[in-house]
């Protein structure tokens, strides 16, 4: 019974497929060697499509000239012109020009056949014989190698002009003891600018704001929440903390500050990078808690003088992505 069911199913399957194939090739005889399908109807259809394409193309030009070049109309007109031309060509290729199937002999290469073998032998002999009569081959070979090396070095050397020696370029930072924090409009950042849970972007006064080491995120938490390492105990006056704004994973700007509204059940305050979601615990001085970043976010020690925020020293670590010259405590 099961076998009969399977057979029935197989037959139904075949009939369905044959139906689809017939429907696709409906009205077509199996191709002879050469068939001339051109008919007045097909030719007229192609002509109509070509005229339509030309009209749509002219329409594109008109829309461009008069209708303030509406992007959507232009797109539709261009698509219509190109699409009708495509249809015309495809219909012509199937129903106007001669239909034929050709069988071509393939060129053969590299089969172990005698004639190929002979050619291969000739080729390799030509190469081999090119050194006939030369006695100091190793000397010449070594000299050739030396020339190649020297010229290669000469060709590669100018590449060094592209950029400076890495040296300290990736370590430079505008932050010193006493550098004032300013906002995007170069106004001094005040301690009162932030309430608990607040977040702002600051820069080193007088620096290029695009300098990776300049930008900071400044956040404010309740001072009693802080769990900073002992050597950073005085880095966060009034619960104000400053960190480099550039993620230590792949240098995106950190623009998310997660501050729990219901501290009992939420994870603690953290800075989050929007690119790969590296997450840094602000209470613990920028320690990584989630995501692919490995190094902590560099922290800037702060001090408040006359209500203004100033740096109390340099950043605690290298800004930006890690590279071979960056130290990491493991």
């Amino acid at each position: 019974m099961r076998a009969r069911g399977a057979r029935l199913f197989r037959w139904l399957w075949r009939i369905a497929i044959a139906g689809v194939l017939l429907w696709l090739r409906r009205g077509k005889e199996p191709l002879p060697e050469r068939d001339l399908p051109a008919s007045p109807r097909a030719e007229k259809a192609v002509a109509a499509l070509l005229f339509g394409s030309g009209l749509a193309g002219a329409g594109f030009a008109l829309i461009y000239a008069f209708d303030e070049a509406n992007t959507q109309l232009l797109g539709v007109a261009a698509a219509a012109a190109l699409g009708l031309l495509a249809l015309a060509l495809i219909v012509a290729s199937q129903s106007v020009v001669p239909q034929e199937v050709v069988t071509e002999e393939r060129p053969r290469f590299a089969d172990p056949e005698a004639d190929r073998q002979a050619e291969l032998d000739t080729a390799s002999r030509t190469v081999r014989e090119s050194v006939d009569g030369i006695t100091r081959r190793r000397l010449l070979g070594a000299a050739g190698g030396a020339a190649a090396l020297g010229l290669g070095a000469a060709a590669a050397a100018p590449l060094a002009s592209l950029g400076p020696r890495v040296g300290d370029t990736l370590r430079e930072s505008p932050w010193r003891d006493g550098t004032p924090l300013v906002d995007e409009n170069s106004r001094a950042v005040l301690a009162d600018d932030l309430t608990v849970g607040g977040f702002l972007t600051a820069f080193a006064a007088g620096s290029d704001k695009d300098d990776l080491a300049s930008s900071l995120v400044v956040v404010r938490v309740r001072p009693e929440e802080l769990e900073l390492p002992p050597d950073r105990a005085d880095w966060a006056p009034e619960g104000l903390l400053a960190f480099s704004k550039i993620c230590t994973h792949a240098q995106c700007a950190i623009n998310l500050f997660r501050y729990p509204l219901f501290a009992e059940r939420s994870p603690g305050p953290a800075l989050v990078c929007p690119c790969h979601y590296s997450t840094f615990d602000v209470l613990k001085g920028g320690e990584r808690v989630f995501g692919p970043a490995v190094r902590p976010l560099p922290q800037l020690p702060l001090k408040i003088e006359g209500g203004r925020l100033l740096a109390a020293g340099p950043l605690s670590g290298a800004v930006g992505a890690s590279w071979g010259g960056v130290r990491e405590e493991s």
Partner: protein, 470 residues
């Protein structure tokens, strides 16, 4: 008239015999052969629209204050590059159309190459004598991805800047020389000097297009020399090609396909918004946006960067291999390395170094198909991991949980895909249940001794091969 034209050419170039052969070049008919052509035609559209764009775009980082047509950005400081891209979109007639067609064409170009690569892989078209050409194709795919990245990084909008920041981070992560590579390419520390923009621009509009264009020429020449592959069928042999001649039917059809591709791209460019740079705003190193997603062909890399656990190789206190290396460099190296190595691996595995002009159906070589599907499943899983943040926003699935799910899936799914595919292929091969291959029945005839002789086995390569791999 026509004869005179041909003679004119022949007497000056000697092209007569080549021409007469070329016009009769046979193209086997199969729908899967279209993908390569779609890639080629997308490239032509890219060149045409790209030339138009260069007439207006200025790759300059000099800072200007915007006073243009788009009101929300008026008064903002931005680079001239971004401003000229905005002007191109709002003030140049048909400028936005061309920009969007260019972007859609780029997405289509890479997609068509990837599907074409899958066709080549699963049908065994990469085997000798076409293995060299397969390497050429893979190289073009690499260049196409780089070219796309360079292209959307030029505009200096927020999205492109974030992409470059990540790119710089990945460059810095190259072991030992990363720091120097980064400062060489960018002319210093990220975001780099004015010269970096020129370098990116010339790479995008000259160096990479010329490289891709030259490789396309090599690719097509190396397709034509041994002629096209073909599937098995009546009258089709290793030594011949059966198909539609280039002139006139195939030429018309292929030109038709070119215009159809162009029509679809122009319809998309006109009707479907892509990369609305005015919404992202200008880039500064200290700005970021949530939900930033790259063009699709970089999705697998962002997925890998996100999935990788936090882990550096630290030697003597220095981060010798920083984390972005794993997802941004090692992962694509493994994927492409495997694809480059596959023809040689398969020759070893199968002990088969013969010439192949007839294609396999995917089932004919269950192991190859299963490995291909597993690789594809692996890369796709990691690709989807790149959109986990969007799934979190849209569907509320916790990001952290998704990440662990994807980490597990990136191991389990490829393995499951391998065994499932292999089983399906083997079953299909045993039953020969393909609708197109006829009944697959064996014709027997009774002989004088009362036994049976097999007269014919129709088009069933799996049966011939069934002593292997099962």
């Amino acid at each position: 008239m026509i004869r005179r034209g041909v003679r004119f050419l022949d007497q000056r170039t000697g092209a007569g015999s080549i021409l007469s052969k070329a016009l009769r070049y046979a193209f086997p008919d199969h729908w899967t052969f279209l993908f390569g052509e779609i890639a080629l035609y997308s490239f032509l559209i890219l060149i045409a629209t790209g030339i138009y764009l260069t007439l207006f775009f200025e790759p300059s980082t000099s800072q200007v204050v915007y006073h243009g047509a788009y009101a929300p950005l008026r008064g903002h400081e931005m680079s001239r590059a971004y401003e000229s891209a905005l002007d191109l979109s709002f003030n140049v007639r048909a400028g936005l159309l061309m920009r969007q067609v260019h972007h859609w064409a780029a997405l289509t170009f890479v997609a068509a190459i990837v599907v074409h690569l899958m066709r080549i892989f699963f049908t065994g078209a990469f085997r000798k004598p076409r293995d060299l050409n397969y390497y050429v194709g893979l190289t073009m795919l690499t260049l196409a991805v780089l070219e796309g990245y360079a292209g959307y990084s030029l505009l200096d909008d927020l999205l492109s800047g974030m992409g470059l920041a990540i790119g710089n981070g990945v460059a810095l992560s190259i072991p030992f020389i990363g720091g120097q590579v980064g400062t060489l390419i960018w002319g210093g520390r990220f975001p780099g000097t004015e010269a970096f923009m020129s370098r990116l621009f010339i790479a995008h509009v000259l160096l990479l297009p010329i490289a891709i264009g030259s490789l396309i020429a090599v690719h097509l020449a190396m397709v034509a020399t041994p002629h096209h592959t073909q599937f098995r069928g009546r009258g089709r042999k290793e030594s011949n090609v059966v198909g539609t001649p280039l002139w006139p039917a195939y030429a018309l059809r292929s030109l038709g396909l070119f215009f159809a591709v162009a029509a679809v791209l122009f319809a998309l460019g006109g009707l479907v918004q892509i990369n609305p740079i005015w919404q992202w705003g200008p880039y500064e190193t200290y700005l970021g946006t949530n939900g930033a997603q790259p063009d699709w062909y970089l999705g697998w890399l962002i997925g890998a960067l996100r999935l990788m656990p936090h882990f550096d190789v630290v030697i003597g206190g220095y981060t010798v291999i920083p984390n972005p290396f794993w997802g941004g460099i090692l992962f694509p190296l493994v994927v492409f390395g495997f694809l480059y190595a596959w023809p040689a691996i398969e020759r070893r595995l199968e002990g088969d170094s013969a010439q192949h002009n007839l294609l396999d159906r995917p089932r004919d070589n269950p192991r190859r198909t299963a490995i291909g599907v597993a690789l594809f499943a692996w890369v796709s899983t990691i690709f989807f991991a790149g959109s986990a943040d969007r799934a979190f926003v849209q569907l509320g699935v916790p990001y952290e949980g998704q990440l662990w799910g994807y980490r597990a899936a990136s191991f389990l799914i490829p393995v499951a895909a391998y065994f499932l595919t292999r089983r399906v292929c083997e079953r299909l091969r045993e039953s020969e249940a393909h609708p197109g291959s006829g009944s697959g029945a064996q014709v027997l005839a009774r002989n004088r001794k009362g036994g049976f002789d097999q007269l014919e086995t129709r088009g069933a390569p799996g049966v011939i091969k069934s002593d292997r791999g099962s």
